[in-house]
């Protein structure tokens, strides 16, 4: 029961906020309260799953071949907790004082609906309801893109919508073929039955699914909707999306990775796509001057690491992919929030226009430093452990070329962070003599909270990695448990 309520709570909040049309501060307070409840709930679920328990909720008590089940194992619990935490940080950052009353009032219900879609996607045990949940998230994101109401937001939404709709079409087609060969879309049943399916159809079905998920995760040849769109989103929402929405594709790939074991060629393709994403993404990022576009190309690169580790197809590789995904979500959200503060205090999106003389620059510089060091992988912070795990997994498999690509990409990552540092924190533009008057005062709560999350995550890297390892064993070790009858 509790899983259904957990899914319904943000959905109901979203719809009620939409209907009531309350003033922005009040709806923000309601959303904050709901998100605190969700965080507590998510941690409770994570703790229960940590004991190896698998939570199952069958809707209307219809058992799996016919009914749809919510199934939460360790992997799902990790991502649910991540989403709940980042939702809270986003809501703290999204203030009526800084982003406009109108924007906040329109964005909050959509954020809640997107959250419930993400929860549903992370909890469902059925591939078709995964599709429905993904669409729920996408619809809310299409609407969120339009909120700024500028021409750019409307034009830049188009490539995202068209590319994602094409990916959804591939997703449905893949599901159709998969249902044809397995007679079910329940993930556990598909895993059991796919072994006996004919090779050609299996390759076609899984290939279409992989292409769809790779588009949603923004791997290199399919990634260009993301750098076009994320810079135009409202910045805190972009932080949430960069953190969790790209991870939706990663999550789906992790979920179907036991299926991919039957078609190793797809895993190899994913691995190389990941390696090239890691390198090309960071090279594209280096050439950008618009801060948030630089960061979104960066996401492409980092998702490349995750998919590479997943493509290695060892338990340790999958575990490091999960750990890297968590690390990247926290760090990338923090960077987007810092970018938000920088853009507003400089009233410019361009790095070349930025000036280090601004209120709160010491706090911002510290937070940026923590996030940038974490991203680059400087030892005490989470990026070091994440990269170490991925490199170690690569080393074990003996993929030397891939390892070389990742190491080179890692050097460029540091370079691109230094670029932001140099422009935004070290210099003032020559032509601008006066200190820019800030449009709004500086609110450090959200960025500090995000930085604190990174530090806590780094300190708890050991237990979290152990949890990821257990999650990886659980998904690959199989999941006859997942069919719902325990």
């Amino acid at each position: 029961m509790s899983l259904a309520l957990f899914f319904m709570l943000p959905l109901a909040t979203g719809f009620l906020l939409l209907l009531w049309q309350l003033a922005a501060p009040i709806s923000r307070r309601i959303s904050l309260f709901v998100s605190i409840v969700l965080i507590g709930w998510a941690f409770a679920i994570t703790a229960r799953c940590g004991d190896g328990e698998i939570l199952v909720h069958t809707f209307g008590n219809w058992q799996p071949p016919f009914g749809i089940a919510f199934v939460v194992d360790r992997l799902g619990a990790i991502f649910i907790t991540l989403q709940a935490l980042l939702l809270f940080v986003t809501l703290v950052a999204l203030r009526p004082e800084t982003h406009g009353e109108h924007t906040v009032r329109r964005a909050l219900p959509l954020l809640m609906v997107a959250t419930s879609g993400l929860f549903g996607a992370f909890m469902t045990g059925d591939l078709f309801s995964l599709f429905v949940m993904v669409e729920l998230v996408l619809v809310s994101s299409y609407l969120l893109i339009q909120i700024p109401g500028t021409k750019r937001s409307l034009v830049s939404a188009m490539p995202m919508i068209i590319i994602n709709m094409s990916a959804s079409a591939l997703f449905i087609a893949g599901l159709g073929v998969l249902y044809g060969i397995c007679g079910s879309l329940n993930i556990a049943e598909v895993i059991e039955r796919i072994g006996g399916a004919p090779h050609g159809l299996r390759l076609a079905a899984l290939g279409m699914l992989v292409a769809a998920f790779a588009t949603k995760a923004a791997l290199v040849p399919l990634c260009f909707w993301m750098p076009a769109t994320y810079p135009t989103l409202i910045a805190p929402v972009a932080a949430l999306f960069a953190g969790v929405m790209t991870k939706l594709g990663v999550y789906a790939l992790l979920r179907i990775s036991p299926l991919l074991a039957h078609e190793p060629v797809l895993l190899t393709v994913l691995m190389w796509l990941g390696a090239f994403s890691a390198l090309l993404g960071v090279l594209a990022a280096l050439s950008q001057y618009e801060l948030r576009r630089l960061l979104s190309f960066h996401s492409v690169s980092q998702v490349g690491y995750i998919i590479f580790a997943l493509g290695l197809h060892t338990v340790f590789g999958t575990a490091s992919a999960i750990f890297f995904a968590l690390h990247h979500s926290l760090v990338k959200s923090t960077l987007y929030l810092v970018a938000d503060e920088l853009e507003r205090s400089n009233s410019s999106r361009d790095l070349r226009q930025m000036d280090f003389r601004r209120p709160g620059s010491v706090v911002l510089a510290t937070v940026f430093g923590v996030a940038a060091f974490a991203l680059a992988g400087i030892p005490p912070l989470s990026g070091f452990f994440a990269k170490l795990a991925v490199f170690w997994a690569t080393f074990e498999r003996g993929e030397w070329v891939g390892l070389a690509l990742l190491v080179v990409a890692s050097v460029f990552t540091l370079a691109s962070m230094l670029k932001i540092w140099r422009f935004a924190f070290q210099r003032s533009p020559v032509e601008r003599e006066t200190v820019p008057t800030p449009v709004s005062t500086f609110y450090p709560a959200a960025v500090l909270m995000a930085a604190a999350l990174i530090v806590v995550f780094s300190l708890a890297a050991g237990p979290i990695f152990r949890y990821s390892l257990e999650a990886a064993e659980q998904i690959s070790g199989i999941s006859s448990l997942m069919s719902g009858d325990r």
């Binding site: 429905v132 021409k151 087609a173």
Partner: protein
């Protein structure tokens, strides 16, 4: 039944992909609709018994009955695809109102306001209409 479905999927998909690759937005949207029809047919065909078989017989027998699950899937997928298409038309209407050419174009770098300042102010409740 299978050759008919396969042929329809082929035709819809070819036409859809051709239209999606055009520059005019209206064609792209129609193309996306055609592509989604094609994949819905694939999903429907996965029920094996052909599209005309019923899911329930009056006598209660199970011989020649189609699998109801793909039909339920297709219903859901059709509704989602319809909503997306309507949304795209609405977005196109907004673009058209602003005097844009309805074409797929590179994303602009600047952040020019789409809605005139006065209307935006009214929307945000800063100014109330007399």
């Amino acid at each position: 039944m299978v050759p008919v479905i396969a042929a329809s999927v082929f035709i819809l998909l070819t036409a859809g992909v051709y239209l999606v690759l055009q520059k005019t937005l209206l064609r792209v949207v129609i193309g996306l609709a055609l592509v989604s029809h094609a994949v819905h047919l694939i999903l429907l065909a996965s029920g094996r018994q052909g599209v005309v078989a019923p899911v329930l017989l009056p006598g209660g027998g199970t011989e020649g009955v189609a699998d109801p699950l793909p039909q339920a899937f297709v219903l859901t997928a059709i509704v989602i695809a319809m909503a997306m298409t309507v949304y795209l038309f609405a977005a196109m209407a907004a673009l058209a109102k602003s005097g844009e050419r309805m074409e797929v174009e590179p994303v602009p770098d600047s952040d020019e306001a789409l809605v005139p300042e006065a209307v935006q102010a009214e929307l945000e409740g800063r100014v109330t209409r007399q």
